[in-house]
Amino acid sequence: MDCREVREQLATDALRLSPELKQHLQDCQLCRAAAERERAFARRLHVALMVPTPVGLADRVLWRTLGTRPKRSGLRRTGLLATLAAGLLVVALVPRTPEKIPTPRGPSAFELASISIDHLSHEPDTPLSTTVVPPPMLRAGFVQAGLALVGNPGEVRYLRPCPVGPYRSLHLVMADDEGPVTALYLRDSPNLGRLDLDGPEYRTVVRPHLNGNWVLIARRGQIITDIESALVNAVAMPPQLAANGYAGSDSQTHL
């Protein structure tokens, strides 16, 4: 095996070396250096191709094919629902000014928060995702959800279209110094004003935006206005929908 043949083989697959090639590398310093370069590229290629995959994919596949329910943490689900219930109780007991939570709108905004937390309880591991969603996937995800990404929303560690209650939604997990923030965009949900509910365990914000609402869920007391603003500023209606009068609703929000 001569140097040319060795270089040819290395350039096609530097990780699967034949015995002849290995023998050549032992004797040839230049080819050894070339092999190291190709191996470094192969490693980089492998890392690049290993894009993060959707959380819970196997469960969804099994649910569809076998009807097997995904393995869930009952404790977490109970905890989340208890948190919401406690939060609702706190809100009901604490007097609030009508400007902050308009009475006629409140219950429905709670409903959006409720179905969002219920959805999160079905995917309790998503906030733990640590792999950053690459920009091409991010843009594609927003396009699929009928939105356009026009700015930087921040670091997204999970992205998936999910049905939340009756709404088509985009489910994101945003990185934040204080902890992960779940952001669900509920498309075509009604504009009911902004709701900020800081419950005993979790903070939930419902923020009308464009033709739906963002529902942000974080830990109790966590400041998430930066993430809220970043999402609102980074996301727009695609031009074709905007041109058809699919109007945004930002002008009516109460920030």
């Binding site: 270089r7 350039a11 590229f41 890392v47 191709l49 994919l57 196997a58 596949v61 690459p134």
Partner: protein, 176 residues
């Protein structure tokens, strides 16, 4: 009854073992994360229906990849891969290109991979993610091993060239 349960357990193990890499293949074929999930769902649905045909566990991976590729082709009515590259691999190749280990970010590399024509992108993904040899990819895609070798080689060369061209001047300087 226990036979059914055993069959289901085997299938569940298969799903958990391969769902991620199949999704990645679907993603790089379709360039769409949502379509990728649909492809994985359809692949496993078909696999479950034909599960009894799978005799050897060792061949399961190639079997699943083949189903997913067919599903993708069915979705997009893809043309048969252009095998015009079935020629001597390195006829036009002078010295191998310099290694790009010092330049290029992973994000940039991902973008460049997405920009590769399907005939180069697919065998590259099958090789790197699937771990298949050029012979196996050839069997899967209905091409000769030589044609696959050419495609993989050119995919890598294109990526290296693009990375080199998009690298900072000082890095290129050291490699030119």
């Amino acid at each position: 009854m226990f036979g059914d349960l055993f069959r289901q357990r085997r299938f569940e193990a298969l799903v958990r073992a391969h769902n991620d890499e199949l999704w990645r293949l679907g993603y790089y074929l379709s360039r769409d994360p949502m379509v990728a999930e649909d492809l994985v769902q359809e692949t496993f649905l078909r696999a479950w229906r034909a599960f009894d045909e799978l005799r050897e566990a060792a061949t399961a991976k190639a079997w699943l990849y083949t189903i997913l590729r067919r599903e993708h082709a069915r979705l997009y009515e893809r043309q048969r891969p252009d095998t015009s590259d079935d020629e001597t691999l390195f006829d036009r190749q002078e010295d191998p290109a310099p290694g790009p280990e010092d330049f290029g970010q992973i994000d940039e590399l991902r973008t460049l991979i997405m920009e590769l024509p399907t005939k180069y992108r697919e065998p590259l993904v099958l090789q790197v993610i699937g771990g298949f040899s050029t012979e196996e990819i050839g069997a899967m895609t209905g091409q000769s091993a030589n044609a696959v070798q050419v495609q993989v080689f050119r995919a890598r060369q294109k990526l290296k060239e693009k990375l080199k061209n998009s690298s900072p001047r000082e890095v290129r300087h050291g490699l030119s």
